[in-house]
């Protein structure tokens, strides 16, 4: 792809401290459109902290985040989403009592009239249903029923809904935090197909996972964190799988 272009997302020299804990010690990374970037590291390496900073949950203490080469302030989740950064959280952040379409638009409902404050506007349910149905169609997600609450759906279907929701609004960056952690083999496969599609649609995808098979299959590049430092960046292949694992756990290759 056009890897030479300006990265969709750049993190420059990021530092984050929680009291005495120095969780990020000068991490930099670039994520390009049409590529999957794997973010690897053992538990406590700083992956989740970095993701939370990018998605607006935490603010960086030092360093900056650039979108398409321009520095941006991401101090709330709402700001990050307005900037086109979507996060699929590990717990999915789904509303069990709402339908897939209602989940898609929760917090960003299509509504009218525009001059009213948002909570007092009326829902345009038809537009939201149609949009959501077309996205689900486009992503080839199979749902048994489109108007049932997501509580009735399987783990894989729920995961697919959470990923699909991210695609509705993602314009730049999609972050997936261990999207297959709780899934069986077949359901994982479906979610990985979605990651493919997100990439093919021109998003910069950041994938956090512990599954080396998935990394080698999907990722164009891998960034490895250990104890808050970036300890390596390489193109994951079967040949260097061993080296990758060594970087993660900190043993000599």
């Amino acid at each position: 792809m056009n890897a030479a272009a300006v990265p969709a997302l750049s993190v420059r020299d990021a530092h984050k401290r929680f009291g005495a804990v120095h969780a990020l010690k000068g991490v930099s990374l670039d994520a390009y459109r049409g590529q999957v970037l794997a973010l690897l590291g053992d538990n406590g390496a700083g992956k989740s902290t970095l993701v939370r900073c990018i998605s607006g949950v935490h603010a960086l203490d030092e360093g900056e985040i650039l979108l398409d080469g321009e520095a941006v302030a991401l101090s709330t989740p709402a700001q990050a989403r307005r900037a086109g950064i979507e996060t699929v959280y590990q717990d999915l952040a789904l509303f069990d009592n709402l339908t897939p379409a209602q989940n898609f638009y929760c917090g960003r409902e299509i509504s009218f009239p525009r001059w009213l404050p948002r909570p007092l506007r009326f829902l345009n349910a038809r537009a939201m249903d149609q949009e959501a149905a077309s996205v689900i169609d486009r992503l080839k997600v199979k749902l048994p029923k489109f108007d049932a609450p997501v509580a009735l759906m399987s783990g894989g279907q729920r995961q697919a809904i959470a990923v699909a929701r991210a695609t509705v609004f993602a314009r730049n960056v999609v972050i997936l935090d261990e999207p297959t952690a709780a899934l069986g083999l077949r359901e994982s496969r479906k979610v990985l197909d979605l990651v493919h599609q997100l990439r093919d649609e021109g998003n910069a995808v950041i994938l956090i996972t512990h599954n080396m098979e998935h990394v080698i299959e999907l990722a164009d590049r891998a960034v490895v964190l250990r104890q808050g430092h970036k300890v390596g960046e390489l193109k994951p292949e079967r040949a260097n799988q061993h080296e990758l694992v060594s970087l993660i756990v900190g043993a000599e290759a």
């Binding site: 949950v57 709330t76 989740p77 709402a78 989403r81 959280y89 717990d91 999915l92 952040a93 789904l94 509303f95 069990d96 009592n97 709402l98 209602q102 929760c106 917090g107 960003r108 409902e109 509504s111 948002r118 909570p119 007092l120 506007r121 009326f122 829902l123 349910a125 149905a133 689900i136 169609d137 080839k140 199979k142 749902l143 048994p144 029923k145 489109f146 108007d147 509580a151 009735l152 759906m153 399987s154 783990g155 894989g156 279907q157 069986g184 077949r186 359901e187």
Partner: protein, 352 residues
Amino acid sequence: MSDTTRQRDISSGAPAGGRAQASASLSPVAFGLRLLNFGPLLILALLVVVFSVLTPNFLKPGNLSNILAQTAVIAIVAMGQQLVILTRGIDLSVGANLALATVVGGLVFRATDGSGFVVITAMLLAGTAVGLVNGLVFVFGRLPHPFIMTLATLSICRGLALQFSINNTTMRGMPDAVLFLGETSALGVPNSFYVVLGMALIVLVMTKSMVWGRWTYAVGGNPKAAVEMGISVKWVLVSTYAFAGLCAGIGAVVLSGRTGAGSPLYGTLLELDTIAAVIIGGASFLGGRGHIGHALIGALMIGVIRNALNLLNVGVFYQMIAIGVIIVVAVEADVMRSYLEGRARNQAARAQ
């Protein structure tokens, strides 16, 4: 309600479509879930049939109108309670709030000598103000649970109502407009019933077609995710408690209209009646699930049981026992629903 008519199968590929059909029409799990959804309505219908067989007076127009009048206050206040429970909360203060509002109305009636508009406005404002205080202190005071805040306002409101009512007891006299709403009938139906109907329509629109309503369901379904999705959860909660207070104020208007008085003794245990109505009606006590119909069906069920047992000369203590038993059955049905949903989820996973 109309959910089943909007069904749309968007799955591509015939096998998935066939499965969807099968699970909709055949699966015992899906059937059980549907039965639970209509359970409260079926029980209400069954009660009506049984009572009309047992006591011929039950179905007489006069008695039915009586039931509606007796149910109106519980139904109105339960609509607010239902929204609060929907957001995983509880409002214990509604009964005392209602009593305080009737006292405020009675005092304003005496002080201003008369206008129905002023008295009604005062009662609605009093109720809303208490609800607003509930919401603001609970949310911004970071109290662990609304149980505590509304328990406190229960005590405070009852105390205020007793302290400031004249001679610390019932005060006779209400303006004509209030009496009209609470006492008079039109077309053989008490006017208070039209108040219930009008409110139900407004609440239906607010919860089903407005963004605010969608947000209350989101907050009840998953508060953490609601924050992550950019919903101002705090203000959704504050507005919900304020609305529950407004409902108590409207209930105060209807009740003081029916009795022609304001009293610090009104609304005793109304909080428990309204919570019972919401739960019996089929809403989930754990939040996120339920609609206005649940509150109305539950309120009607309580009204029907009390009325019929009165006609049958069954003592008031047995009525309490009966309602208690039904509460247990209703909550057990909710537990059953969660269990069946788990089964449905497993079926969906296997079907893939």
